[in-house]
């Protein structure tokens, strides 16, 4: 079968010693940064992105994918041991995971979380292997109007699933588009909104923006408020879940995986909402729902599996169509463009070593992480015990070094600082960063698609409605905007009550 041959090719790329090494480095560094409180996978990828510049695009992507998965594993560790979610999708793991740690069952919680993530990751990679090429062939039929509509749909869906106000998330999206298209106009070659800064002619860099929005703002948040941190200092014994644990976790893991993967594929959904849904779902299915929140292993197994499956799912639109489903994928898209790889439906065809190599290395990475994480957990816990002042000072230092080394330019440091301060205030005023990041990355693509569509149609906006696919996407957009007004509630907000 053609797919198997390609997979074999992918493995041959991934097991080259250099690539194995980069996969390993990515996984370790990703886990380390993921363990650090406050820095999630997106910030981890941004911070470690400059380290990948010396490498070939394939190796760089392998390392980045490793960082991505690693950071997610690391995030689970902080959720369980510290009750501090490494990133938004780990919030749910805190609920039962931390309680398990307090009951002295931190080991099995971490173990089940690692195994569940591994199983889910493996499954979603298989899904990716079969779905992405098919979707890519389908996406070849897309023209500028379809791209425009699907991007608008993706952004609207992200805002629909926002955890706070949808209007505020839409504000972030609109603002993101604006900031994203700053720079030279691609057609008229005129600088736009560059505020006189020459470095902005090519647009504001994605990495410094993310480092600032997610990294620096987090540090500022913590600098301003004194948090009493309770590291679970009990000895971690017995990392292996018992047979009873496995029996109870099997169902939740399978359900979490399926839910995560299929929801993750939809543009705009990402991995946060499926994780919340998975937890609610398990709670409803359980014979003892009242025990959820006191340390039920199902409450860890399902969301953790869901999390990783959703990440695999979000890879599908990215690899097959060049469309990022959430901020994490937006980061990867930005990275691909920096490496000079053209994302889109032709990616699989033009760069098979990249696509199949990354897939194979994701599988290898999952194995590495499983093997790595379990024995290294005591080490990570030690890292967490480092006082905040040291941790945050180093985070800031690495952000600055990382930002500088992108272009050997101090301007990038100031961009990071600026977005850090902005991110701090946005959080305080109740605005979320994720829609902004997605819109920021999609902005230039959106503009190109819009302009091409209008040139194609000679100025008529009807082109978006006349082409059937584009019409479908736009119908979803309208539904997503109108539904909350009619139903007076949204998917994302109801889940707030779960906390």
């Amino acid at each position: 079968m053609d797919t198997l041959q390609s997979l074999y090719y992918g493995f041959s790329v991934a097991i080259q010693p250099a690539n194995l090494f980069y996969c390993f480095m990515g996984a370790v560094m990703g886990t380390f940064v993921g363990v650090l409180p406050g820095l999630g996978p997106v910030a981890a990828m941004a911070l470690l992105l400059p380290a990948t510049f010396q490498l070939s695009p394939v190796s760089a992507m392998i390392m980045l994918a490793g960082i991505c998965y690693g950071a997610m594993y690391g995030g689970s560790t902080t959720s369980i041991m510290l009750n501090i979610p490494g990133e938004a999708s780990s919030v749910v793991t805190c609920l039962d995971g931390y309680m398990m740690a307090r009951k002295g069952r931190g080991g099995p919680a971490l173990g089940i979380s690692a195994f569940g993530s591994f199983i889910a990751g493996t499954f979603s990679i298989i899904g990716l292997v079969f779905l992405a090429p098919t979707l890519a062939r389908f996406a070849l039929k897309f023209g500028p109007p379809e791209y425009f509509s699907i991007m608008v749909m993706g952004m609207t869906v992200v805002t629909y699933l926002a955890r706070t106000s949808m209007v505020k998330a839409l504000v972030m999206a609109a603002f993101g588009v604006m900031v994203g298209i700053i720079g030279m106009d691609p057609i008229a070659a005129k600088p736009r909104f560059t505020l006189g800064v020459a470095e902005f002619y090519d647009g504001i860099g994605l990495a410094p923006v993310i480092m600032g929005l997610f990294g620096i703002s987090e540090v500022l948040e913590n600098a301003g408020v004194v948090i009493k941190r309770e590291v679970f200092s009990g000895k971690i014994t017995g990392l292996f879940p018992t047979r009873e644990d496995w029996k109870r976790s099997a169902g939740p893991m399978i359900r979490g995986t399926l839910l995560g993967f299929f929801m993750g594929i939809l543009p705009g959904v990402g991995n946060i909402i499926p994780t919340f849904l998975s937890y609610s779902f398990e709670k409803r299915l359980s014979k003892h729902p009242e025990r959820f929140g006191t340390g039920e292993i199902e409450g860890v197994a399902a969301p953790e599996a869901c999390n990783n499956a959703a990440v695999g799912g979000t890879f599908v639109p990215l690899m097959s169509m060049g469309l990022p489903a959430n901020a994490m994928m937006a980061m990867l898209l930005g990275a691909l463009m920096i490496y000079g790889v053209q994302p889109g439906p032709l990616l699989i065809r033009n760069s098979p070593d990249l696509f199949w190599g990354v897939i194979a290395s994701m599988y290898i990475g999952n194995i590495m992480l499983l093997v790595l994480n379990l024995p290294l957990i005591p080490l990570w816990v030690q890292v967490l015990k480092i006082p905040y002042s040291y941790l945050f000072s180093f985070i800031l230092l690495f952000v600055c070094i990382g930002a500088y080394s992108l272009n050997n330019n101090v301007t990038d440091i100031f961009v990071a600082i600026g977005f850090g301060v902005l991110g701090y205030f946005l959080k305080k005023f109740g605005y979320e960063a994720a829609p902004f990041v997605l819109a920021f990355v999609l902005g230039p693509l959106l503009e190109t698609a819009l302009r091409r569509s209008l040139i194609l149609s000679n100025g008529s906006f009807l082109i978006f409605l006349q082409r059937p696919l584009s019409l479908c996407f736009l119908v979803v957009v309208i539904a997503v905007i109108i539904l909350p007004i009619i139903l007076k509630k949204r998917l994302g907000t109801g889940l707030e009550r779960e906390e």
């Binding site: 209008l454 100025g459 509630k489």
Partner: protein, 154 residues
Amino acid sequence: MKTLDRYSSLFWFFLSVAVCIQARSLGLGHFRNPGPGFLFFWSGIVLAVLSVIIFLQTIRRTGGTPGEGSENPFGNVNWMKVLCVVMALVIYGLILEWLGFVISTVLFLAFLLQSIEAKRWVVVVLVSVGSSLLTYALFELWLHARLPKGIFGF
């Protein structure tokens, strides 16, 4: 959050007005051939409309956005510390290319470590100098990252 929402909605409104005005001077082009300012202008319009919606939402009696508590997110913030961190970052950026990586980093770390949580001077000095040299070795010598060299040559 209501008052905060009012402030933020006003901010977005004035921002979008400014963007729209500037976008017009860039040239909107025609629908047949959108100009450089086209998407800026229309995003600005969308943003303006949204900001008005936010503002109006604060007027409704049972209004306010879902999923938020009634505590003031700005209460309990130690502004001095936040300001210190921002100042440290800005100054670091400014002196980095002048004094070079090593010296700037020592000063940066020393200031940060001391201001986030007060410590003994010996510890601060040891950690700053040690970390600075370590990261220099890591990034410059091993990863060949080309960190800025200042007037002292390193």
